[in-house]
Subunit: 373 residues, 2 copies
């Protein structure tokens, strides 16, 4: 999935979710400052645990992992870059704090590190499978160290994550490990569905399939992060599930917005050519919604999508974008994203009615549905 | 590593270890019948747990995993073949029974399944990395389903293994999961070292490096299996470590014998051309021992090994085999294997002095050091 790496935003959704946020009248979350502070604190809490885990790896795998996490250059010298925005660890810690206070947050640092390790294990392997050559503005690990070393580093990082929880004496650690292991299976299923979908005829792909894929690939780990925080706060099973749903739905909202930006995003802000996802003929959510809309524009889009297109054909790409829009793909994705965020907020309000306690999770959910690239 | 799949044996070592077996005068273990019974029982105990775990996987990954385990053909129809000899689950169950009786054996079935899942996750990934096309007399999973599906199935199978232990209410399950996770890191390091060693100039490879690689790649999981059995029997930390050493050293003895057979094995029994490992210029243990022996034959061997060789050159292969032998590689490997088995038996006798209780583990250790292909 796409990383959360920039500070841009989709104004419409941010306003909408702020308005819909139950009982939250504060201006804080929407301006992104609260999220930035939370992410910074999460990074500071989790980094020592992550570093200790990665430093425990034997020679070559340590080097691949430290390179992937941005802590070392390819030649093994220290690097200043850090590993993404720590959204997932922040969700673990913020959920724990929201339900159990500062003590629960403190106790969940290892679980937060485990979630971040799992996220990075999937990135290492997805990059190998997808032959992606760039990650966080650097060459991907497999391009630097080769497929075998990237695969092995990913394998070891998965083991580190589940090992961290196995060694954690916290009462919730076994339930957290079981949940995280089940989430890994779901993440793998999501990646599998994604690669399989990309190989299929667009005419045969249903919207339910693409939504299920996005939920497994993007929503599952955000949901699991929130659920682990709840487990470490000693929350009841119902509340753990509600927080999983909160993270999952926020993750789906993120993916919907990300797909909209992949088609209509401003190239000056995304850093990619206009309509990059269309040029690549990606079966993104707005495209599949449009293709399955039963409108005349859907038929036109199907014809256009059946012809591979060179990257230089800006006029052709613009024509496809227009067809997706006329077939209702853009409106559907925007309204789905808003619905998902609304559902996320509803689950959150049910478990944590006090705005003071829910504010951190709310700020993070808004943050992830802002512009990313 | 090589699978344990045939009933052949190396008479010298089998006799030697039987003689050295502490206090064990019974004829049972050496004839292989006791091991066969133990393996059969282990398979019967573990298969339902394994099947349930694999059946819990989502669609496509379930299919890849069931194919790899030999339970389904490539087209998804049921297959009769089963997944190897269940050596590792048998070690878990037999160690548990030896230290804790039938109740401990019963309680360790899930741990035994977890160890077998980890073994198969490494096989799935190693086959991708090594581009091996045959496993258990069938095309490897990646040749049938492609690299991405084989990688994802392996990832999911690792998660299933650690998830099984996380869900296990047994008091020892967390310690077992931590130990198994650490073992995964060691297995990955072993595979990494193996691929790195094969790329290096034979003249620069030391015997310690190759021994360390073999211990990580082959010994670690056999040791971990025994240690998990001990943990489930409630054994003291010292005894857990001793059983780990027992399995590790037996695993190294196996690898040494396997490497000897890869050079001097009878093609009629191995099913491979004579000296297949030499033709492939493998840096196996006897070869590296010979190369680093400082003898005149070592220099001759180094020259011969520097020239790649076609598969048809039987005379050239025979000449290399002779050089390895004259440089002492064969004797060294045989005596190392005997020493490792002796050390394994010593550790076993220290923890379990009664031959009646130790007999099962002894039989399995002898079984693994017999001929395999």
């Amino acid at each position: 999935m796409t990383e959360f790496t920039t500070q841009g935003r989709t104004e419409t959704l941010a306003r909408r979710t702020t308005v819909e946020a139950p009982g939250n009248g504060r201006p804080g979350p929407a301006d992104g400052h609260e999220a930035a502070v939370i992410l910074e604190r999460a990074r500071a809490s989790v980094d020592p645990e992550l570093r200790a885990a990665l430093d425990s790896l034997p020679g070559s795998m340590r080097r691949v992992a430290l390179y992937h996490f941005g802590w070392e250059h390819a030649d093994g010298t220290p690097a200043a870059a850090h590993a993404g925005k720590a959204i997932r660890p922040a969700l673990v810690l913020t959920a724990a704090a929201a339900l159990g206070g500062p003590g629960a947050r403190e106790s969940a640092v290892r679980a937060a590190a485990a979630v971040e390790l799992i996220h990075n294990f999937t990135l290492l392997h997805d990059d190998v499978m997808d032959r992606d050559t760039t990650r966080r503005h650097r060459p991907t690990a497999w391009t630097v160290f080769g497929d075998p070393d990237a695969i092995l580093a990913g394998d070891a990082v998965q083991a580190l994550a589940l090992g961290l929880l196995a060694e954690d004496p916290h009462l919730a650690s076994a339930a957290a490990a079981a949940r995280l292991a089940a989430c890994v299976v779901e993440l793998c299923a999501g990646q599998q569905a994604d690669t399989a979908l990309e190989r299929r005829d667009p005419a045969d792909v249903t919207l339910d399939e693409v939504l299920a894929m996005a939920e497994a690939k993007t929503g599952a780990l955000l949901g699991c992060a929130c659920a682990l925080g709840a487990l470490y706060a000693g929350a009841a099973e119902d509340d753990v599930e509600a927080l999983d749903t909160f993270g999952r739905q926020a993750g789906l909202a993120f993916q919907l917005i990300d797909d909209v930006i992949g088609i209509w995003g401003d190239p000056n802000r995304t850093g990619k050519p206009a309509g990059a996802d269309l040029t690549a003929r990606k079966k993104s959510l707005p495209v599949v919604a449009a293709l399955t809309s039963g409108t005349p524009a859907a038929a036109e889009l199907a014809e256009l999508y059946a012809v591979p297109c060179g990257t230089g054909d800006a006029a052709g790409t613009a024509r496809i974008a227009l067809a997706v829009e006329r077939a209702g793909g853009r409106d559907w994705a925007q309204s789905q994203a808003a619905d998902r965020m609304s559902r996320a907020m509803g689950e959150l309000a049910r478990v944590i009615p006090e705005p003071e306690s829910a504010g951190g999770l709310l700020a993070l959910a808004e943050y992830v549905t802002r512009r990313s690239d």
